[in-house]
């Protein structure tokens, strides 16, 4: 498997009266170039899971794999792995501490011990990747930017690692509608052009569901669903019972289907919905 887990279990503070099993026997795999969504209520284990995937946490039992390596094995050189797996936490701009955007983005490659010339190349590359003109921004103070721009810089700060996998936790938190659109457009393009594998934890499915090819659903530490988006989001009543909601567009389509209309089940955004309803009409008119 490219990245995944095998019977992963994680208990916080084992052996104490406060012990809490955050992950219970979780097994899944994501293929290279895949775009997976991890959904679940707060406390379902999402954050714990993603922290295992880049080796931040060690399993209580079970294993985590990346590119053929068992992350738990001694000598697995976590630093090398962190080069390849980028993890972007929620509100990543809260991590800023540098005086210039350059230094902020250079932090990660410098930590890897790269030569300064290489670092510089990567910083500029990362900035351009997120759609910000390097010359305009590298000397500015990170705190001076708008919310959307800060988010992009924070993303660049991880992209400078040139990761093969990018894991993001609520990447759109705090962004307005257009900011979200820009972000997901960027992620989609990285996924296509660079075959970057994506794993995204989010509650805001409307803009991202159409990009995904796999959805994992966690409930109380257990993996309760794993499959294609249309299969998972089709299970409306189950999701609602778990306190989750499918993308709004999917709900509208499902309602139409319930009323007898022959609509496809893999529609998650407005443009696709529009096209589908139009297709229905043309079909009928014929």
């Amino acid at each position: 498997m490219f990245i995944g887990t095998d019977r992963l279990t994680h208990t916080y503070m084992p052996g104490t009266p406060y012990a809490k099993k955050a992950l219970d026997n979780v097994s899944f795999e994501i293929k290279q170039g895949g775009f997976a969504l991890v959904i679940g209520r707060s406390g379902s284990g999402k954050s714990t899971l993603i922290q295992h995937l880049n080796g931040l946490l060690k399993p209580t039992s079970g294993r985590v794999f990346f590119d053929g390596h068992d992350l738990g094995q001694k000598g697995s050189e976590l630093l090398k792995i962190r080069r390849k797996i980028g993890l972007v936490f929620q509100m990543p701009e809260e991590l800023f501490f540098s005086e210039t955007i350059f230094d902020e983005i250079a932090f990660a490659p410098r930590n890897l011990g790269l030569e300064e010339t290489e670092v510089q190349t990567r910083v500029i590359e990362a900035l351009e990747e997120v759609g910000m003109e390097a010359e305009q921004f590298i000397d500015r103070h990170p705190f001076q930017l708008s919310a959307g721009q800060k988010r992009m810089v924070a993303l660049a700060a991880v992209l400078s690692l040139r990761p093969e996998v990018l894991i993001l936790d609520e990447p759109t938190a705090g962004l307005d509608h257009s900011g979200q659109k820009i972000l997901f457009k960027l992620l989609a393009s990285l996924n296509k052009k660079k075959n970057m594998t994506f794993i995204i934890c989010t509650h805001h499915l409307d803009q991202v569901a159409a990009l995904a090819d796999q959805v994992l659903v966690l409930q109380e530490g257990r993996l309760v669903m794993d499959g294609f988006p249309q299969k998972i989001f089709g299970r409306r009543s189950q999701l609602i019972e778990m306190g989750l909601s499918p993308p709004v567009t999917a709900e509208i389509m499902a309602d139409l289907a319930e009323r007898g209309l022959d609509v496809r089940s893999d529609i998650f955004n407005l443009e696709d919905a529009r096209a589908e309803i139009n297709r229905l009409r043309r079909h009928r008119v014929k």
Binding site: R41, H177, S178, G243, I252, A273, R281
Partner: protein, 286 residues
Amino acid sequence: MVNRSEIIIEAKDLAYQYTGEEEASSPALSGVNISVHRGEYIALIGPNGSGKTTLLKLFNALLVPTNGEVRVEGISTFDEENILSIRRHCGMIFQNPDNQLVATTVEEDIAFGLENLTLPSAEIQKRVGQVSSVLGLQDLLQQAPHMLSGGEKQRVAIAGVLAMQPGCILMDEPTAMLDPAGRNDVLQTVQHLNSEQGLAVVHVTHFPEEAVMADRVVVLEDGRLVAQGSPKEILGNTSLLHGLGLQSTAAVELASLLRQDGFDLPEGIITNRELVNSICSLEQTD
């Protein structure tokens, strides 16, 4: 139960200018005239920087106008002697659930406002008891804030405000940092307080779905009140919203797209159900 024609907050020709900051060049608010009636639920929407938060702060005298006047239950917010009264009449809930909880236990936090009002101990204990049962917090009274979920924290904040027996509650994007379950929690709570207890609500939000339940939607742009009306009127006006960089509900957006494609959908659709019904009746008549 409540006399809905009575005005509790009135702003006349309201203007506010921030001093000593770069934004001093353009006023944060200008020429705003607005009244909040008893029992009314107002949704306040607008792009970032349009002055929504500023307006709220002018309502409870956290800021005083640089021009014009705000009166709360007839008391002018310039009246420094009666600020405590004003803040009792107009409670406020903030976006970050953590950064508004002051005490080490839920119980003490709910009591905080009452202690500021110098109520006698017995009265404080009585009100804390009442309010915690209304909001379902009885079992959490001895808990420390950091052990609560986001939704619970916001409910505690609401309890703290409710205990002061206000006529109006001001909410500044109270669900922005919550997961869907927490969001639901807070929205249902506030709706209940509005419909059952006649509490007026001014709710600043970025989520168009949250504006659907309001009595009136008020739109700000660049410090000016540019539109107000029923949710149908405002949310249905996609050109207005798009012009401000805002989105409407999925149902409205989809209906608008379909109308462009020649679907003869009636005006005034803002919910999923209305959309589905309309599409289905169209399909039947085709």
